[in-house]
Symmetry: C2
Subunit: 352 residues, 2 copies
DNA sequence: CTGTTAGCGCATTCAT
DNA sequence: ATGAATGCGCTAACAG
């Protein structure tokens, strides 16, 4: 027994034929059983099921795919799984797709123009039948001209366009709400982290525009030198931008960050430099990252209905797989400002 | 033009035959060009390449897979993508696999016994050729008896076993180091968060054992009532456990958490209850979660060589796909204690 | 109700 | 150097 193989026997995979032989029926009867066709006698059905068990049969996806011309695979193209927002999106989409019999293949683009362009051009492997796409670099114009051979549904914020189903969020509106909240708690000197002059896509511009609009309607001036670039929405970029703000601490009492990760990084820097949040500076972000719920202080954020986003994305890409002749649709998913400690009025949280 | 279809024309995918016809050659010549066989004249090669471009040919993975009996797909079976550690693992593995021509399909088990059992039984779709598996619930005994029909490589901590390649980390050793560090900075009254009495798998027991061993060799007593259960390694569980500790604040000056997320959750609770970290209580975790680098205070942690883990995992599963007759191997990947603010000696960080 | 047949797209013989 | 033929595993159509 000691010389027994340490691994499962690598005997060839059983096929329908093997099952058929074992059960004493034909291959098509096996297929009928597999697909719950009603015209099979209970007796044979049982024999086939038994045979399947005995020979350890598992259908070959490749054979099925070749025959049916379907793979039931969706791709999710996102910048990076290490971003909590995209990780959570992948998780929820996975659930939704699975419940409809589809498998999700995650394709990390790194947010690069090159990889995103490949997605738009339909450069896909593995017989992917549809793509849920979160571009952050690809210019709108290129998206319009995309020549993919499978349905694509767009997630995120990209202005209006004609070509694709689009699950959008209203960042302009949420930015106004967030700004109004800060104003109502007494903030007047605003900074913004997340300006992306080199990007044609993504939510940054809309959130900045919302901030501007709300400030304007409240008659508050925005110091343009306090609009800070963040080429990516990472903690590191937030940290970097905040260093700039530390040197001008007296000029800022509120920071609007285009994403929670930026805010997390910024908070870290501000606190290390002796600034108190929210006493000296209030701060907020977008995405409701879990770590913002457990940070100290906890982070005010704009939360999107991720479940609705995922549901709509899966539903629309699947229905387009079945019939791609209907006109593109635009969906706008709701959001909600979740107020936490990082934007409390000054007096509430005394210095510890 | 206005009535032009809004979507790419859904004409049937081009096949090798289409290319062949377009190029005026036979299908096998096309195949030869595709595979860089040298016996094709430059002229025909060029014609074929042109034809491929013209008809927009993309090889059918299904056909290729059926013919070759290979899919070049690996599965990564992890509990949950929303855990930063697993998300990062997925990211790195994805890179490594891609560079070797494999695609990774992420399979979220939820950490449930049922789903993990399915993985071990080889209940896999899509012609997956190998599995990188991070079980957290499945008992060792069941793993031993797994009857998967594809190679499986195990990640994480599962005691010793005979059946699989295993990329391990030495949690016992790292827990001793972490504990020694805490002792060296003057801590004496320890608590542990992450005891999992109902789990047979996962790193919890080893980290607790390392804590015990180091305390014993330093002659320090561990109050058993300060060994707290965390059924899952989440921020919420950490928060919950820490509430218990708040009521016994005077009895604790160091908390060893079996994972960073537990520590993050615990820190949040402790700080909200007026306890200062590290002045009142030092705390540390495992995994080097990014958020621990940006938390306030930043979190001391045990960092594993994730790159090495991923590299070994991919390499061993692929080599086993090619030849599954060699004896199972055990690899132990290095770790490093990253000391940050959360375990500073008491005096260093004065109350702000 | 069940078995026979055919072909999905591809890569590999084996002829030529 | 190129083409024709074959079969991978599966299922839908059809025949019985």
């Amino acid at each position: 027994m000691a010389s027994e193989a340490h691994h499962s026997v690598a005997r060839k995979r059983a096929t329908v034929k093997d099952v058929a032989r074992q059960a004493g029926v034909s291959a098509s009867t096996v297929s009928n059983v597999l697909h719950d066709h009603p015209w099979v006698t209970a007796e044979k059905r049982k024999a086939v099921e038994e045979a399947i068990r005995v020979v350890g049969y598992r259908p070959s996806i490749a054979g099925r795919q070749l025959r049916n011309g379907r793979s039931d695979i969706l791709a999710l193209a996102i910048p990076d799984l290490r971003s909590p927002y995209y990780a959570e999106l992948a998780h929820v989409l996975n659930e939704k797709a699975l419940s409809r019999g589809f498998t999700v293949l995650v394709d990390e683009t790194g947010g690069t123009l090159e990889r995103e362009r490949e997605i738009a051009q339909g450069y896909l492997n593995h017989g992917i039948e549809g793509v849920i796409f979160c571009p952050v670099s690809l210019p709108l114009a290129e998206l319009e001209n995309a020549e993919a051979n499978v349905p694509i549904v767009l997630l995120g914020e990209h202005g209006s366009h004609q070509a694709f189903d689009h699950i959008a969020i209203d960042s302009f509106a949420s930015a106004r709400e967030a700004t109004a909240h800060l104003i109502s708690t007494g903030r007047r000197r605003f900074a913004f982290i997340g300006y992306q002059p080199d990007r044609d896509t993504g939510p940054g511009p809309f959130r900045l525009a919302g901030l501007r609009a709300e400030l304007a309607s409240a008659g508050i001036q925005l110091d343009e030198s306090l609009v800070l670039v963040a080429s990516e929405f990472t903690r590191e970029e937030g940290e970097h931008s905040a260093k700039e703000l530390v040197t001008r601490a007296g000029q800022v009492d509120a920071i609007v960050c285009a994403a929670d990760l930026l805010a997390i990084g910024a908070m870290s820097t501000l606190q290390r430099n002796g600034l108190s949040i929210p006493n000296d500076i209030a701060i907020l972000g977008w995405d409701d990252s879990p770590e913002g719920r457990f940070s100290w202080p906890s982070l005010t954020t704009v939360k999107h209905d991720l479940d609705a986003i995922a549901e709509l994305a899966v539903r629309s890409v699947i229905s387009r797989i079945e019939d791609d002749t209907t006109a593109p649709q635009e969906y706008v998913v709701s959001h909600r400002l979740v107020v936490r400690e990082s934007t409390s009025p000054r007096r509430e949280l005394a210095a510890s």
